[in-house]
Amino acid sequence: MPGRLEPDPLPRRDFLGLAGWWAAGVAIIGSVLGMARLPKPRVLPEASARFRAGKLDEFTPGVVKTDHEHNVRLVATEDGIAAMSLVCTHLGCIVGESSEGFLCPCHGSRFDQDGNVIGGPAPRSLPWLALSQAADGSLVVDKGKEVPQGEFFVA
């Protein structure tokens, strides 16, 4: 007699039916999840973040060079050389130089000479980028690596 101790057994038909539904469900969900990995490649197809900005000895104090291919601005001073990204930290437009510093054409962010935000929606200052010297004497900029603002590279 069915009761708490001896519950009604699940009828065989229902059991097989349920098992079928679950098997189909797991198979479909599993394959969808498997396919969902497709849009994210293991290696991103892109150029290296490091590039040569020119010969180191070109950068005598006072030289300012804007690299339009990489959207980086290099400044050489008595303290050393610094590279600053010109990619707006708001949504990625390229800032233009102005009398007070830099202006973004897309939503009007304003930055001072050092890249600090002085107005507009940009959430943070323009990043300064890591510099190093290659064996052949050229200056290498690493767009993937930030350095604190005010840190100059001395060869």
Partner: protein
């Protein structure tokens, strides 16, 4: 035997045209109301219509033909889009030139491209108008709640169609729009950075990579957006459009003030019958019997008052389709679709403006990427989508603005929404915003308190206030929707006409600095 067998064969051959026609059109020539109705009922392409239609649905002021016009625009877009695909090449090196070829070399190419562009603009404009008409005639209530949600999905998909579409020419507009779009997808980073979370929790980067297939805009991104534009979006759009149409019938046709014909499903057609305009509720009451027997001013809309869909409805639809075609063709002949300079990753245009329908968003993104690009749009879409579930008042559907009280709320909401929106633009233009006053302020505070978020909050509070004051969720909904419309129009206007280089404010383009 052979000859009579052959005879039979030739007999069949002779009758083939007639028999084929008979098998194609099962009910004979549609010459009477009856055969025409049978045709509507039995024809795959026509059966989306009911065989009979209520005259209220046919009145111009019920729908303004907006929905049918949207379908017409979509059909035009599919046809012209397929023609464009003949020449368009989704490659960063070839896309721009292929559009130029379409423009200058391909016979009718410029015309087809113009029509595609114009129909796309019209679709965005008309979908907003269509939403407004459905909303203000309270046609989202009762059984139609889900169809309002389906419509919201179509609205979002239409915007996605447009966005992915204008990226394809790979001109300056396209390149910077993808850049900005992808960075908006990455804007949750703004919050992660402000909270000082570790790099691994920057979900924004993952979203951006999924969209671009890389961390910068390039070939992978173009292929993905092309795939979206010509495959994925149509594949999603069409079934939902089908559901939208299907539900119109199953929900009992167009919403109308009262009457009961053509119930097409369970419980359909009864909701409006019992709904009585609030102003009249005290004066006249009718029992269910009276409604059913139909002897009073309020009733009498029984089955005999409907008209056959063929010819009345089909004729109206054809008229709207032709008018839409005419509009697209005329615009396509008069105004060429723009093509900016070739994409230049070093210098954005100044100002870099999105197409008009995104300029309201661009205006808000200019306060905070996360708020203007993700949070406010999500709140708006979800907020509008939920209206039928938050306002369940029985309402005489099909009446514009729900009568006098509704019109009063409409007026006061237009005034409030205008003042709020203009203030939200004027204050930052005149006095600057938090960062100008407190240069070291945390980004977190700006994310929470910026003109865009405050405007959204003001609109929400206004609607709650109206509900509280009038004790009517319908009037609250009217307040909310009106605020949305007015805010959209004003911000779009400001973004289009009052912003110049570096997104600075100018009263007119004549004041732009020359360089």
């Amino acid at each position: 035997m052979a000859s009579s067998g052959l005879g039979m064969f030739f007999q069949n051959l002779k009758e083939l045209p007639r028999n084929f026609r008979g098998s194609l059109i099962r009910h004979g020539a549609p010459t009477s109301d009856r055969t025409r109705s049978q045709a509507v009922f039995g024809n795959f392409f026509l059966h989306i219509h009911a065989t009979r239609t209520h005259p209220h649905s046919l009145r111009l002021t019920t729908t303004w033909g907006l929905g049918v016009s949207l379908i017409s625009q979509f059909i035009i877009l599919v046809v012209t889009g397929i023609l464009l695909m003949v020449y368009y090449k989704p490659s960063v090196d070839l896309a721009y030139d292929s559009i130029k070829d379409i423009q200058y070399i391909v016979p009718t190419g410029r015309f087809i491209r113009n029509i595609h562009r114009w129909a796309a603009h019209l679709m965005v404009a008309f979908i907003i108008l269509h939403m407004a008409r459905v909303f203000y005639t309270a046609a989202y209530k009762g059984p139609r709640a889900f169809n309002w949600v389906a419509g919201m999905v179509l609205f979002v998909l239409t915007l996605m169609f447009s966005f992915t579409g204008y990226l394809l020419p790979w001109d300056q507009l396209a390149f910077w729009a993808i850049t900005i779009g992808a960075n908006i997808a990455a804007s949750p980073n703004e919050l992660a950075h402000a909270l000082g979370l570790p790099q691994s929790l920057y979900i924004g980067n993952i979203q951006k990579e999924l969209l671009l297939g890389a961390s910068t805009v390039g070939q992978e991104a173009l292929v993905r957006f092309y795939l979206f534009h010509v495959m994925l979006l149509p594949a999603v759009f069409l079934p939902i459009l089908g559901v939208h149409m299907w539900r119109i019938r199953k929900d009992g046709g167009m919403a109308r003030p009262e009457g009961n014909p053509t119930p097409a499903g369970k419980g359909v057609g009864t909701m409006e019958a019992r709904a009585i305009a609030p102003e009249e509720a005290g004066a006249k009451t009718y029992g269910l019997m009276a409604v059913v027997q139909g002897k009073s001013a309020h009733t009498g809309k029984d089955i005999d008052e409907t008209v056959p869909s063929w010819p009345y409805l089909l004729r109206a639809e054809l008229l709207v389709f032709m008018a839409t075609m005419l509009l697209c063709v005329a615009l396509g002949l008069l105004v060429d679709a723009p093509l900016a300079e070739l994409a230049n990753p070093a210098v954005p245009e100044n100002p870099a403006k999105a197409p008009w329908y995104f300029l309201g968003l661009q205006e808000m993104v200019a306060y905070s990427a996360l708020v203007g690009g993700i949070i406010v749009p999500s709140i708006v879409v979800i907020g509008l989508g939920l209206i039928p579930y938050l306002d369940r008042e029985k309402e005489p559907a099909g009446v514009w603005f729900s009568g006098r009280r509704g019109r009063r709320v409409l007026t006061s909401s237009v005034i409030f929404a205008t003042i709020a929106a203009v203030t939200s633009v004027a204050v930052p233009v005149k006095f600057g915003w938090l960062r100008n006053w407190f240069p070291d302020i945390s980004q977190l505070i700006i994310i929470v308190f910026n003109p865009g978020s405050l405007l959204t909050a003001a609109y929400a509070l206004w609607s709650v206030f109206i509900i509280q004051k009038t004790r009517s969720t319908r009037l609250g909904a009217i307040a909310l929707f009106t605020c949305f419309l007015v805010g959209f129009v004003i911000l779009t206007y400001v973004g289009t006409y009052l912003r110049g280089p570096n997104w600075a404010f100018f009263w007119s383009k004549a004041d732009w600095p020359v360089h």
